[in-house]
Symmetry: C2
Subunit: 341 residues, 2 copies
């Protein structure tokens, strides 16, 4: 298990070194051309070509599509775009595990919804508890502690939790082709951001190690906080109230609010990414919008219009309409996860 984590670290390291050609390129023409295939896990075909063509156009100095490096902002959804979101969002698995872990200290939960539903593994009853039920679970599992304490709880869980099908840490269920894409874009002067509906403080403890994306380039949903001094030390205390939902239109607004520039490339996989793709691509100029279509039940999962998590319906129609690139996982990806041959 450790070795896979080290593999990922090595990739991040290599991706950092890959920036050198950008910096030194002007001094050594031809250096960039000397790169080997930067996307080895992508099969040859229209999807890979669309990516390579886009990058070639926006980086061609003097060309009509040239974009200066500071404007090369690329935004990535996380769940279902960078890592697996089936059979349920990883953060929901975290919530359920935490409720179970805390149950012995809270005997009344056995007879009280939505906790009873979680303890019984009754997903139908859980769904019936609605938004109010979900907020009660968030309050118990995500709030009532400092941000440092939450980061530790989330990190500790990620080191021990295993995916029910693949029996591996969730941080290994990341898509090898997307890791290569992140590295490739950064090597070409892009700044890569995560823009996820997931909780921002749930992601930050591990995104740098796993994706090479530092905390300050991670946007996500958040709960409200309070600054306070505790025993002479300042802490950020997490409150059981929603602050911002970084999903659907929220993604476009969050990008405007926190990044303050319009991206030129956006990567998503569900209807939650529709507005982010619109905001990125429908402003003129050379733009790339790409949707990961989960078509591979054998190596990963196959789902789209009817999915409970990561429903891809309107955004799939919009892709056809707006000429976004659709990456067909089964057809376009030579490899899905780093650990698969």
């Amino acid at each position: 298990m450790k070795s896979a984590a080290c593999d990922i670290d090595r990739r991040v390291l290599l991706s950092s070194l890959a920036v050198l050609p950008v910096l030194l390129g002007p001094l050594f023409p031809g250096l960039a051309q000397a790169q080997a295939d930067a996307l080895p896990s992508w099969n040859e075909g229209p999807t890979k070509s669309a990516i390579l063509d886009f990058v070639a156009r926006v980086t061609a100095q003097g060309g009509p599509g040239y974009v200066e490096p500071a404007q090369r902002i690329a935004v990535f959804d996380n769940d279902g775009t960078l890592w697996a979101e089936q059979p349920m969002y990883v953060q929901l698995a975290f919530v359920l595990d935490r409720v179970n872990a805390l149950a012995p200290l809270n005997p009344s939960w056995k007879n009280k919804q939505p906790f009873k539903a979680v303890l019984d593994g009754d997903m139908r009853a859980l769904a019936a508890s609605g938004e109010q039920g979900l907020m009660q679970l968030v309050a118990i599992t995500h709030a009532g502690m400092t941000s440092d304490e939450f980061a530790k709880v989330a990190s500790d869980w990620l080191t021990t939790a295993r995916h029910p099908r693949f029996k591996r840490p969730y941080t290994e269920l990341v898509y090898q082709p997307m890791l290569e894409l992140l590295t490739y874009l950064r090597a070409n002067g892009f700044k890569t951001f995560i823009v996820s509906g997931g909780g921002v403080e749930f992601m930050r403890p591990w995104t740098e190690k796993v994706y090479g994306i530092p905390p300050e380039q991670v946007l996500g949903s958040s709960i409200k906080t309070r600054f306070q001094m505790r025993d002479g030390r300042p802490v950020i205390f997490r409150l059981p109230q929603i602050n911002f939902i970084d999903d659907r239109a929220g993604k476009a607004m969050g990008i405007n609010q926190q990044i303050g520039r319009r991206p030129i490339a956006a990567f998503g996989n569900s209807d939650g990414d529709l507005e982010m793709l619109q905001w990125t691509t429908m402003s003129g100029g050379v733009r790339l919008g790409l949707i990961v279509h989960h078509t591979d039940a054998e190596r990963e999962f196959a789902y789209d219009r009817q999915a409970h998590f990561g429903k891809l319906d309107k955004a799939l129609d919009a892709a056809a309409l707006n000429k976004w690139t659709v990456a067909d996982m089964k057809r376009d990806w030579k490899k899905v996860f780093p650990f698969q041959d």
Copy 2:
């Protein structure tokens, strides 16, 4: 006027090149030492020494205070820390100018507060209109348009508006020693952020050119927005409601929310920066907290505990208590503004 702006651009360019020693340092030991005085506008003395010592300690590989580059986050207040905030906040001058510019289209304003107060230049009546009055002005001047439109209005105003005393564009009323400090920190691997009570979209159009700080590293107050499609194009529309006030405790919470790492250096000048300084410095480790104390009525302005804008009272007491560095403008700065000899 153009030449001063070009000077600033040149500084930003030089600051980018100054990063090279950090990247190439391991290959060419001694390169860093070859740098000339990086803070020429700071007089020799305890303040300059505190800055230099801090940077030396956190960058000394193998030393007890070493901080890896990714963790070298430095946060700067804007008003009164990077540019002048007297005789009033620049953004307030913008609001007053905009109300005057829009008045001919709104004849009823002549008899209606808070507009009448603005048109009469009656600051006492304006203050009496309170928060509700201010929100009405914000609604008129900051909302009811798209983010792109607002960026243009703010940028256009900045090119024509002049400071009442110095008769220069506000973007020239930036502090030369602080520009040097920004450059110096970046040359030593720091990532520099603005964390301001000012409106984030009011700052972003010019911070990169003036300070070398890109939009995605600018945090500020914000109003709510709405994503919408207009004539087949997506826009972010600005609403007349406060979203977030990035001041006092809000600065610490905003840093946690958007940067997601605790800074190791913080620079401010007023009580609005107190919690940011606490959050940055009171967590153990080698940290730098610095307060710009406006003591120079001749070259700039002298104000602190009684000021209407940029009141420095509790934070000055806290500086003594917490051993933060206080930069005495008159004593420590050889030069205040770039245009002064």
